[in-house]
Amino acid sequence: MTTTQSYSVDELITITAARELVDNSVVFAGIGLPTLAVSLAQNTTATNLEVIYESGVCGAHPSELPSTIADAVLITDSEAVLTISALFGYVLQGGRIDVGFLGAAQIDKHGNLNSSVIGDWDAPAKRLPGSGGAHEVLANANETFVIMRRHTARAFVKELDFCTSAGPDRVIAEGGTPRSRGVTKVFTEYGVMSRAGAGEELTLTAIHRGITAEDVVAATGWELQVSPELTVIAPPTEAELALLRDEIDPSGVYLR
């Protein structure tokens, strides 16, 4: 992606994701761009947003940007630290998370995710970290936002090499009852793909300035549907960029 504006892809994705966060919701956030997006939303449109980290920290007040979900600065001055079993059992499976944030190596049109292997599971070309808590976030958070910085046909695939984390369509296909809407938004360098939940395909609903729908379709491994109401995303405002750069990540921990 090229842009004539003076902001990076990371800044663009972070700001776009922040705008989609709704006030008064509880967000399960990983480290990196989700941390920034949540922090930006708390300072702009969703000032009563609550963040819970996979490590069990609730109500963090870190002295600086955390570099992992378990960074010591997240614990000191926080409001509560839960055990892992309480976090996964009572909070996540308990249905108390509105929005989860995930990344993945591969995603398909129904928002199923692969973070385990490239190639065959038994003898993979590349071994990836695996689920961690991703499987449970997708299964239990009411909806999940996915951030995929690089939008390529190798990542946006017709068939996953392996399904680590299943969306509601696959849950239903196996005879289960979904407890979540699955992936509802995917943020990439090109724009935003959206779906409401089970039965729907991820559809291109918004593109960044300077991008065409054709660019995105060509970079997607399945026949990507384009919304008839496709919009162009308003570029980052001076205020958003200033908050990100001067208040939230002044040392450039995540922003490149």
Binding site: N43, N48, A72, V81
Partner: protein, 317 residues
């Protein structure tokens, strides 16, 4: 880095408002506290508001349950122990269950761990929770909610293995009491913490009465002390002495005299009615109840300090 929510809403409420907002006739209500920190004041406020037809869930159904029964708040009781500790009998509970009584209480009997597992299933939104209890007992015969499941793994002897399970509890509201909370509803507790966290997580709403609301920095100096995080709490209510006649570790002692006196009071329906008229209907709120206890009584139950040594959470240099 700023992560403070600018328009965050405090969860502090008065007890009258909290009960009228979250407890309605016909609801399923969990009232928990295992000998320590029994939410008595909340039970009394339910009586004052004339709420009826409750399904009351409480592991140790003790004096406050006897009082709520006498005040006709409860139509179903789910419990694993109906007794006044080792201090005697609960007159009203016995009258409502025994053959000689009116038998108008629907009593659902479990063992303690059966109740614990129901809360664990409720908090985790599981369809059931397995436990190594109930084989050979008559409890499953009188409680059809206690069922069996076949394990998909072979047992230790290589043969198929069955295990009992209990269903989740998901009350409309859980009510617990604790030492303190901040204005956002982060609840800190020490001493016996019982099943309170699980009860709160299992419920749709949660009211937490506390001895005191403390400044944010007190809670945040020790986040591991928080047993219930803000996001699981609907209302946090300052109610000093809110657990009397039970005790609050570090705040006041158990009123053993009151426990012992309850056998005689509850054995006599007239005495029990008089007790409710004086102490519950005769007081507009718990602060009047505490006033009625008197300074000498509060002094008798007071405790001397035994402070914890601090730990270091560390700060990046």
């Amino acid at each position: 880095m700023s992560t403070l929510a600018a328009n965050r809403k405090p969860k502090v409420m008065g007890l009258r408002d909290a009960i009228s907002t979250y407890v309605h006739s016909g609801d399923t209500v969990s009232l928990e506290g295992f000998t320590h920190a029994i939410p008595t004041a909340a039970g009394h406020e339910i009586i004052r508001q004339g709420i009826t037809d409750l399904t009351l869930v409480r592991m140790t159904a003790d004096i406050v349950v006897d009082q709520m029964l006498a005040a006709n708040c409860i139509s179903t009781l789910v419990s694993s122990f109906v007794g006044n500790s080792s201090a005697g009998s609960l007159g009203e509970i016995r009258r409502r269950i025994e053959a000689s009584g009116p038998q108008n209480l629907n009593y659902v009997e479990y063992s303690h761990y059966g109740m614990v597992c129901r809360y664990l299933a409720g908090a985790q939104k599981l369809p059931f929770y397995p436990l190594r209890s109930y084989f050979g007992s008559d409890l499953p015969k009188v409680n059809p909610e206690i069922r069996k499941v076949l394990s998909p793994y072979p047992g230790p002897d290589g043969k198929p293995e069955e295990i009992y399970v209990v269903p989740p509890i998901n009350p409309d509201v859980a009510i617990v009491h604790a030492q303190r909370a901040d204005q956002w509803g982060n609840v800190q507790m020490w001493g016996l913490t019982g099943i309170q966290a699980e009860a709160v997580f299992s419920a749709k709403h949660a009211i937490v009465t506390v001895e005191e609301i403390v400044p944010d920095d007190v809670v945040r100096s020790d986040p591991n002390r928080t047993i219930i995080p803000s996001h699981a709490v609907s209302a946090v209510v300052p109610v000093p002495f809110g657990a009397h006649p039970s005790f609050i570790q570090g705040y006041y002692d158990r009123d053993n005299d009151f426990y012992r006196s309850w056998s005689a009071i509850s054995a006599d329906e007239a005495l029990l009615a008089e007790w409710l008229a004086t102490w519950v209907h005769g007081t507009t709120d718990h602060s009047e109840y505490v006033e009625l206890m008197g300074a000498a009584e509060r002094e008798r139950l007071s405790v001397a300090p035994a402070m914890s040594q601090p730990v270091n959470y560390g700060r990046r240099r």
